[in-house]
Symmetry: C2
Subunit: 406 residues, 2 copies
Amino acid sequence: MALVVQKYGGSSVGDADKIKRVADRIARRVRGGDQVVAVVSAMGDTTDDLIELAGKISARPSTREMDVLMHTGEIVSASLMAMALGELGMDAISLTGQQAGIRTDSVYRRARIAGIDTARMERELEAGRIVIVAGFQGVTEELDITTFGRGGSDTTAVALAAALGSSRCEIYTDVAGVYSADPRIVPSARPLRDIGYGEMLEMATTGAVVMHPRAVEVGAIYGVEILVASTFDESAPGTIIHGETTMEQANKVRGIAHQRQVAKITVRAVPDRPGIAAHLFEPLAQANISVDTIVQNASVEGLTDLTFTVAKDDMTSAVEVVRATLPALGATELVTDAEVGTVSVVGTGMASAPGYAAQMFRTLFDKGVNIQLISTSDIRITCVVASAQVDDAVRALHEAFALDQE
Amino acid sequence: MALVVQKYGGSSVGDADKIKRVADRIARRVRGGDQVVAVVSAMGDTTDDLIELAGKISARPSTREMDVLMHTGEIVSASLMAMALGELGMDAISLTGQQAGIRTDSVYRRARIAGIDTARMERELEAGRIVIVAGFQGVTEELDITTFGRGGSDTTAVALAAALGSSRCEIYTDVAGVYSADPRIVPSARPLRDIGYGEMLEMATTGAVVMHPRAVEVGAIYGVEILVASTFDESAPGTIIHGETTMEQANKVRGIAHQRQVAKITVRAVPDRPGIAAHLFEPLAQANISVDTIVQNASVEGLTDLTFTVAKDDMTSAVEVVRATLPALGATELVTDAEVGTVSVVGTGMASAPGYAAQMFRTLFDKGVNIQLISTSDIRITCVVASAQVDDAVRALHEAFALDQE
């Protein structure tokens, strides 16, 4: 008898019929002899509907109250799933994040898990119950409600698996796994059998979003293997995210990731003194704006250009912050471009094999895609390109690296 | 500076605009110098929508899970109300039933409050905050979520007033107060200035439903005066429910109550032995079926008829229970009538003034309304009549007792 922690996303529990189908799937697993803890997201568009409702009342609602509002969606799904299992003759109980023992810090909207007290869950499992946990939420020490941000139910599931001592977590979603590229752009993209935590993080944070990056981080830290698979197509094997990269997979491009909603900000002609990067990026960090690619040109006549990218949604506030630092930097000119995107080639060990970068640049050049910025990590090479060229770039790279073949 | 506990019902917070209007009302009160704790119900049809959703999943959902599901509606309202107050520049915080310290027994769907730990509320009030509490809910010792049944937010409000040491609770709703009769039946019905707890209980449990009977009970036990008034018509004074009946009001009919959804069950020719009533009504109580009027005819040749009424919704289960007891009672015949209703004349001291009963019976006789059963209490005379004649009976009695006059 193994303990399995599963997670079902919003599209998997989008209506009453889908909830019943998921319940049936869980019931079969339990009848097969496993103990199941299932984490559920809010039904379909619930979260968006709640955000819209809040928007009618306040342009800038308190983050604490937004968390109180939003966490109800997952509770609704959890109770309905427990009812659906009851209807199948199974003994199931729903738990809120608090009841599941999930304690967090007090950063509303993007709280981090501080610890999990598994006592209640273990009691319910010992009593032979299926435990359904409302995802994406926890409580602070003061018992105030917090949420983990979009996709946070993935994090709930992986963290529960770690806390309950389970070495595996199953994330069920509406896609068949982690693809070699977005299949909406590249029809020949295929689901990967497996992928390393680090590679998955690069895929997730550079656009091939199927799961919450923090869930992958938690999996990596606690050694929880994560299966990403389809909720309703049980014949598809899915993708396993794990810590080991086999010999054959090292030094190999695993996938092409991309991002469309990116904005580029350039501060021109900054006097090149030590500390200018700190002067620029500390205020951005304080304003909680995440900066992605950063490039500083070589200095010409003591002046340099500093370019970085942010999420398109953050551009307005980023420009405000940067404009305020211009006097301190001794610069005056700010150039923005909201029409850019990124394409990334992801694979372990790419940094030690320079041929990949060369092949990437050659492929983009042949396609007439102009590279605006380049950044690299151990397992990723990213190019910033015009957003209109993102799709072409992804398709060309997927073909160039032969990713449609096993 | 006085502490005021208010409650706003589902129709008062039915959409974003109404929530803003209520927030404005609360903000004015606070600017006027009062501290406010406001209890809110779920928005409009939320509760019905959630029940419908559960119905699609399970015909007999677990009561525990129904409470988990339903309690989310009030939390949504509470967080939105706190946001709306924030938008008006007020410092407000929403609290769930649990956060407000409301502990209950573990009878799901109709839990009773076991105690209220006011520490968190007091801390927030001392910090100058408006406290918005999600109504109709609490938690058990095990931190499982419970609800109080339909209208339970009234009970939350009155119990919070008692726990916080406030001598007054304000219930805002979509009617102008407690009327002398249902104004949809009697256009000349008028809101009462005040009414006693006991009278209000009779009005509420016999059909003139504007508030939860348990809220009135809690008010009576803890001496909390309850104002029932209109949310949006601030010029209407509303009705005060309190403990003292003035000299002039004693021995006076206060209102006409009615019930439409009633079923009558008669067990015929029961051998008249001691204990037959217990044999009949204990199993009904165990099945959680509430019995209203009970009449036992005088025995004829050692046989008697036992007649009682139940809510129409309970008739099928009541008949099942009673049929199972027939052999033990030595009876064989069961007669049911699902087409009955009740009309009641309510007023303190009526039992000691028999003229009221005579006038009631005469009025109904003059209108051609046949009285099927009669039951009385200190402050009420109730007649069971054909449901088709309920409206006529209410109108005739309202006129006969001159209730359209101050």
